[in-house]
Symmetry: C2
Subunit: 315 residues, 2 copies
Amino acid sequence: MNKTGIAIHGGAGTILASQMTAELRAAYENALLKALQEGNYILQANGSAVDAVVAATVSLENHLLFNAGRGSVFTKTGEHEMDASIMEGKDRMAGAVAGVKQVRNPIELARAVMMKSDHVFLSGEGARNFALEQGIQLEPASYFFSQFRYNQWKALRDSGKYTLDHSSPLELLMKDKKFGTVGAVALDRQGNLAAATSTGGMTNKNYGRIGDTPVIGAGTYANNTTAAISCTGHGELFIRSVAAYDVSAMMEYKQVSLETAMQEVVMQKLKAIGGEGGMIGIDAAGNISMIFNSEGMYRGMIDTNGKVAVSIFRS
Amino acid sequence: MNKTGIAIHGGAGTILASQMTAELRAAYENALLKALQEGNYILQANGSAVDAVVAATVSLENHLLFNAGRGSVFTKTGEHEMDASIMEGKDRMAGAVAGVKQVRNPIELARAVMMKSDHVFLSGEGARNFALEQGIQLEPASYFFSQFRYNQWKALRDSGKYTLDHSSPLELLMKDKKFGTVGAVALDRQGNLAAATSTGGMTNKNYGRIGDTPVIGAGTYANNTTAAISCTGHGELFIRSVAAYDVSAMMEYKQVSLETAMQEVVMQKLKAIGGEGGMIGIDAAGNISMIFNSEGMYRGMIDTNGKVAVSIFRS
């Protein structure tokens, strides 16, 4: 049986140590640790990488600190529209949803699209109808309400602006730029890889905007012969860069390591076009990389030796 | 000044010569020729590759023979929901829309997203609101009505089935499998590449299903250093394969030609997972490739020597 590994992220961006209290930092670290443990529990019980990344992502979706699921930001019209995707590396099956309302855990809906439909990508009202048919749990708007996000949205609402940021519960962090997507990648005992990503999108978003999170190849990709990758950042630039698949393609066609490929995509190619953000990945041997070109990225891993680490800033 | 080139497609699939009358074949060939001429006119007037692929795609969208724009198939609820995307190869900017209703020419809306918004990917009602703000032409439902498509839909409506097919106006072709997406790729005198793709999706589609057409990297991709590519086929498998970008990545990382890369993606990788369909591409030198693993693909090109060719079957 193979060794297992799991890595998660809770968003990247301008996260300032000077503005983060010890209490807030501990809250983030505890939430990351809990999500890692939820995913790792499944891996240690010989569960699948798919179930492990869903469990870790659900844990982050259920936490108000992160901009996904329950903690999702408000759209221009005062609603919550969420995106998520998942891919498994053995058969390269995938599932994705965009612009879904009321779904408690969008990553569970993405898994249902992958496992129980003929499709890969469902959107809007139709995706919610599919959720109802599949018995996926819905919640009223009040479930997704938090005073912090509401205040954030009100401040932006009539400005015509939108932000990709702010999953912090403190008003004083409102000016920080942070991309509040969450995600997970894992290797299970059967040697299978999986990647999952979930987001509430941009505060005050308009026009049914879709970022990279539900776009297979951009925000999420997995292939047992290369790696499983989940991204967080300025979605438009990750889409144009086909960022997640580019790491896999470089590994396959140039025979470079996950770390080398990810360094080139995040620190060279994305950076060159202003594509702020980062990504996490795990390869078939369990090597984990977590790279970001922003000031910080909420992240954590339990590697093949069982070593646990969570971090926020650059070191 | 560089030489110019343009190629287009009007869908791929099981197109049976035995069931196609001379009149119908002529109608398809004339429509393809007209679209090529619309695009080529712009290239010869020193216009941009972006404007050329939009002009060619608009011509196909306006024709009832093809499943895009006016000729779009009916959804499960008896509506028309269209997807489109565009990408240019110089700065790798992109625009895409999914699930838009009433928009006369979805490819023009995709271009507006690319040129006039901060976003890449808009969807549903929000995308239509953006269209209204940009003065993009809308049409009533009657504009998209055709008796053939209506009959096709009625036959499927209560069956719980959907099809990716059928852009033929003849009832007797209804059982053919055909993927009725349209698209264009071009090289302009400035040496810039562009790719565009547009579709009405699957007959009787449900759940807000999105195929590969609006997914940058899957259905559409362009990069001046490699090629511009537009796909048509079983969208779910093209998404999972990140098909369009895979051709570009192979060219960049393995230093193979457009033709070699496209042969491997369409005839090996897609075929191996049952991914029926095809794609067209043009590289920076103006070399054009049009490859499909289905029985036929409506296609045409005007190459760098001015040679004009349209075809449907495998020759």
